[in-house]
């Protein structure tokens, strides 16, 4: 089965509503995404509740600390834990970010920017192939929000992302909000980004809100998806067709029903755009 429709990030605050008495509480939510790290090597209520949701919904797994771009060796223990979790959850898709999170054995717990160079591209592509081997699954890389670029850069971010995915034969989790944030921060064309990404590799889309500081934007996931990001999403739908799409909300988390309502708005946009795509 391939993943279809619209999803939400699964957050512990919402377990009571999702698993509660109202069977319609999650109407309009076709699937959930979990943060892999939250369930690796743990048990008790977090694992129990997540698996109860899994029994009723398809799931995708999204990691934050693979650190695919780090020059430290890949963490075998982490990969083993990730594989064990994937074997348990049987996710439709599995992803992490095109970034690095630390070197010299440390973890900054942030999605840090990579220099957009041939050296980085080759390094990441080689490691993605190993990850796909270990997991025995196709893997998706997600574009992140960035706040700096490097003097060393040799290509655009979309060229970098596309080239890595071509070399490693992996897929793309396209975060439309992150395209907006990075495009605004670095002054590149968001439409050029969309046009530069290969249509056949985009298997999932993220939407989120952010914090606008006037001269730069920080990717905070603490607000509803703003209209201008939804406008960019509409353009993405036009280019990529229907791709499973979800809202990420990680802070200032509202009641579940509010996110369900917000997701319905996203679905309407996709349906509207898809009607305009010639069959």
């Amino acid at each position: 089965m391939t993943l279809q429709g619209f999803g939400l990030g699964l957050r512990p605050q919402h377990f009571p509503e999702i698993l509660g008495d109202d069977p319609n509480a999650a109407d309009g939510v076709d699937w959930f995404e979990i943060i892999s790290e939250n369930f690796i090597g743990v048990g008790g209520p977090p694992l129990h509740n997540m698996m109860a949701v899994r029994e009723r919904f398809p799931m995708v797994m999204h990691g934050v600390s693979l650190s695919i771009g780090s020059t430290d060796p890949l963490d075998g223990n982490y990969l083993k834990g990730l594989k064990e979790l994937a074997d348990l959850v049987e996710p439709e898709l599995i992803s992490d970010h095109l970034c690095w999170t630390g070197v010299h054995g440390l973890n900054m717990h942030d999605l840090l920017p990579l220099p957009l160079t041939e050296e980085s591209a080759e390094h990441v592509a080689t490691r993605v192939m190993r990850v796909q081997d270990v997991l025995g699954r196709r893997f998706m890389l997600e574009n992140t929000s960035t706040y700096v670029t490097f003097e060393e850069d040799e290509m655009t971010e979309w060229e970098f992302l596309s080239e890595i995915c071509r070399r490693a034969d992996c897929d793309i989790l396209l975060d439309v909000n992150n395209i907006y944030v990075s495009g605004f921060n670095h002054g590149f064309s968001m439409e050029a980004y969309l046009d530069g990404v290969p249509t056949d590799r985009v298997k999932q889309i993220h939407l989120a809100g952010h914090e606008h500081n006037g001269d730069y934007i920080v990717d905070t996931h603490d607000e509803p998806v703003p209209d201008y990001v939804l406008d960019l999403y509409a353009k993405a739908v036009k280019r990529f067709g229907h791709v499973p799409t979800m809202i990420e909300r990680d802070a200032n988390i509202p009641p579940f029903a509010e996110l369900v309502r917000e997701l319905k708005g996203v679905r309407l946009i996709a349906e509207r755009e898809l009607d305009m795509v010639p069959a």
């Binding site: 790290e37 939250n38 690796i40 090597g41 743990v42 048990g43 008790g44 209520p45 977090p46 694992l47 129990h48 600390s65 771009g69 780090s70 020059t71 963490d75 982490y78 690095w100 630390g102 070197v103 010299h104 054995g105 440390l106 973890n107 900054m108 717990h109 942030d110 840090l112 990579l114 220099p115 160079t117 050296e119 980085s120 390094h123 706040y147 700096v148 670029t149 490097f150 003097e151 060393e152 850069d153 921060n185 670095h186 001269d215 730069y216 920080v218």
Partner: protein, 263 residues
């Protein structure tokens, strides 16, 4: 000049850890928004730790609590993939810190809260039931060793912080500060097997020593010897067997073995 990926990452990380500026010439346009990374590093880690140590937060108050966490984050940068483990060195770090160590109730509170957190989401495991104990032949008892549920954790405290912790958790004013013990007391926390809620209680000295020994793989015989130091030698086996039964009833035991046999 162009730097390698490895060098750029080292310089970038040094900037986050200690405001080193070697990365600056490599940031396009001088990196006007580098502050977003600078700020996020400490802020994110402190936010996570704040969720794990509510009792400590109430004990110290906002200003001292965040000052303390800032010092801790600098002393112990994260080495794990999950933020879940960030606070694991906090109890010992507090105890050994020149400044914070003057207030030993802080280390006690941190150890207590960390223990509860570990019990909450430790891995699951299948328990040994009471009927299992009855299947063990009497002659096997001296050589028995025990395996404990991953959710069982202990903390040895200088202060009774439990009432203060409950008040912090409930968001009410505590009746008073943590109470110093005459001698250290060891607490145990574990997950209730059915309800999955975290349970905790303090242990008498002999139980704490027996548990510690059992967790280290000491046989039932050895445990009886430890218990005998606290009671009549005749009563030691009865007391030790009673402790065992209590552990099974509480859902602490997942394995009883003796020389290649398991029950």
């Amino acid at each position: 000049m162009s730097a390698s990926l490895a060098d750029l990452q080292s310089m970038f990380q040094d900037r986050l850890l200690r405001a080193d500026d070697a990365i600056d010439p490599h940031l396009a346009n001088g990196g006007p928004f580098m502050k977003a990374y600078d700020h996020a590093y400490r802020a994110r880690l402190i936010e996570i730790l704040t969720e794990d140590f509510e009792g400590l937060h109430l004990l110290l108050g906002d200003e001292q609590f965040f000052k303390m966490l800032g010092e801790y984050v600098d002393a112990h940068p994260s080495t794990t993939r999950s933020v879940r483990w960030l606070g694991r060195y906090l109890p010992d770090w507090l105890k050994n810190s020149e400044n914070w160590g003057k207030h030993p109730e802080l280390a006690s509170m941190a150890a207590f809260e960390w223990m509860l957190g570990l019990a909450f989401d430790a891995a699951d495991a299948r328990l040994v039931g009471v009927e299992t104990m009855t299947r063990v032949p009497p002659e096997a008892w001296p050589m028995l060793t025990f395996t404990f549920h991953p959710s069982l954790h202990t903390a040895t405290l200088d202060f009774d912080v439990s009432a203060f912790y409950r008040a912090a958790k409930a968001g009410v004013d505590p009746d008073g500060p943590p109470i110093p013990y005459d001698a250290t007391v060891t607490w145990a926390a574990w997950r209730h097997p059915e309800d999955l809620i975290v349970m905790y209680r303090f242990m008498e000295k002999d139980e704490a020593m027996a548990l510690d020994a059992a967790q280290k793989g000491i046989t039932f015989d050895g445990i009886c010897e430890i218990v005998a130091g606290h009671t009549d030698a005749d009563e030691a086996a009865v007391r030790a067997a009673g402790l065992m039964k209590g552990w099974v009833d509480s859902g602490w035991l997942i394995g009883i073995d003796a020389e290649g046999m398991s029950w």
